[in-house]
């Protein structure tokens, strides 16, 4: 009961926020009360927009942040990858149950411990049509997570991410949605993802070879990429096409 009252108080604070600094302060405060030393709220490397406009707020110690940046731990970070395969919060010690870890992943996690990064709890934030994100709460090594606070952390993470989206939208209006692909462009990209050539796609869709080339050229321009593989990856990443679109039939 008391914990839920704390959540309500936090949500009231969120409603009145007008800057990222205030959001950061509110998150830092409630993280501490939930027994976490640090938080990090982030879009997982926003490939469509510059790093400048993607959401990233944290109060990690300088050496942790530097470690993540130096190792370019964006999408390849096992924590982020795990958050793409689940829609609810998980502790970092659960990651091996969520994704298959490579030797490099084990290395990354082990080196994180060397840097003093202990266990954490990550709340994934998936909004269809946008890059994935997450809100994590983390502790130094030897500070166990108080598991009875995790339902509260789950709520706080979800609402904080939405608050960040809202602030971000105020800062750069119109950027969140962007120009969508046309239906024909989407269809062509789905067949590209299935490995078809432009000529094959033209036969399948019953349109001319030139038209397919034009659709895919315009779609590549929309994402600012030159290769068809990157086009399919971008369209999947921002939700313009889904894995279901590719695998069905």
């Amino acid at each position: 009961m008391v914990k839920f009252e704390r959540a309500e108080l936090f949500l009231r604070d969120l409603a009145g926020l007008s800057s990222e600094g205030q959001l950061s302060d509110a998150l830092a405060e409630i993280s501490r009360e939930m027994g976490f030393h640090h938080f990090a709220l982030t879009h997982h490397v926003d490939v469509r927009r510059s790093a400048r406009t993607a959401i990233r707020l944290h109060n990690y110690p300088a050496d942790w942040a530097q470690y993540y940046d130096e190792n370019r731990l964006g999408l390849s970070d096992p924590v982020h990858r795990a958050s793409h395969v689940t829609s609810v919060g998980f502790t970092w010690s659960q990651i091996p149950q969520l994704i298959a870890l490579t030797r490099r992943d084990h290395d990354i996690l082990a080196r994180g411990v060397d840097q003093g990064i202990g266990d954490g709890f990550t709340v994934p934030a998936h909004v269809p049509g946008e890059s994935n994100g997450s809100c994590s709460f983390a502790n130094p090594v030897n500070w166990p997570i108080q598991s009875d606070d995790l339902p509260l952390a789950q709520l706080v993470g979800s609402f904080a991410f939405e608050a960040a989206r809202r602030l971000w939208r105020l800062r750069s209006p119109g950027e969140l949605t962007g120009e969508p692909l046309t239906d024909r462009q989407r269809e062509c990209i789905i067949w590209v993802a299935r490995g078809k050539t432009d000529w094959e796609i033209s036969r399948i869709l019953g349109i001319s070879h030139e038209t397919v080339i034009r659709h895919l050229k315009q779609a590549r321009e929309r994402y600012g990429v030159t290769k068809r593989t990157m086009l399919a990856v971008h369209a999947l990443f921002d939700g313009s096409i889904s894995f279901f679109d590719i695998f069905r039939r």
């Binding site: 839920f4 919060g89 909004v127 949605t177 989407r186």
Partner: protein, 206 residues
């Protein structure tokens, strides 16, 4: 087309209702594996589908189901008070002007981009229906993975309690407050799709 069906006397009294109950079976039973009753092997109909339930049904030009939602009165037995009372740390709304959104259903045939569009139209119809019928609050139970989307609609959503794990799923209870400015909030999130709401003509029983 958006149809609002109220005082439904028989679940199969119109084509839109039949299409909706069949789509619900495909989504909630076949896809999501919910343990809910099925009639004739084709229709998902439970004890809350009675004359007190309201339905919002989106159909295409041919009358095929696109998306739908069921609204239950909070002054009568509904999902939150009968099945999941433990999800509420504060008293959930129980008033004539508060309805519970249940069975939010997007047709399985839809591709990813169509799903988002139908979802937007359904959410817009829910808000417009609330404003036209003096509904001030919606409430509901949602899996936490779906919460981020519900929040991203931009309307005023608040939790009614801390999330809890029920049968392996993390569930939460939420309330959404609807006011005159709610359409503008959806608009600011880029998803408001207003369209006329048709009241279903209830055919006389023969």
């Amino acid at each position: 087309m958006v149809t609002i069906a109220e005082r439904v006397r028989h679940p199969f009294e119109s084509r839109a209702l039949r299409a909706m109950f069949a789509a619900r079976k495909q989504v909630f039973v076949d896809l999501l594996r919910w343990d809910v009753p099925v009639i004739d092997g084709r229709y998902e109909v439970d004890q809350y589908d009675d004359e007190h339930a309201h339905y919002i049904i989106l159909t295409d030009d041919e009358g095929e189901h696109l998306g739908s939602a069921r609204l239950l009165q909070t002054i009568r037995p509904h999902i939150l008070d009968t099945l999941f009372p433990e999800l509420c740390d504060i008293s959930p709304p129980a008033r004539p002007d508060a309805l519970e959104i249940t069975r939010f259903c997007l047709d399985r045939r839809l591709a990813a981009s169509e799903r988002l569009e139908i979802r937007n139209r359904l959410v817009s119809a829910l808000v417009d229906h609330a404003l036209a019928s003096s509904i001030r609050t919606y409430c509901g139970v949602a899996e936490l993975g779906w919460l981020q989307q519900i929040l991203a609609f931009g309307w005023r959503c608040r939790p009614l309690g801390l999330p809890r794990r029920v049968d392996g799923k993390l569930l939460g209870a939420f309330a959404i407050d609807i006011a005159a400015d709610t359409p503008a909030l959806l608009e600011a999130s880029g998803l408001y799709r207003p369209e006329p709401l048709q009241a279903a003509r209830t055919p006389e029983l023969v």
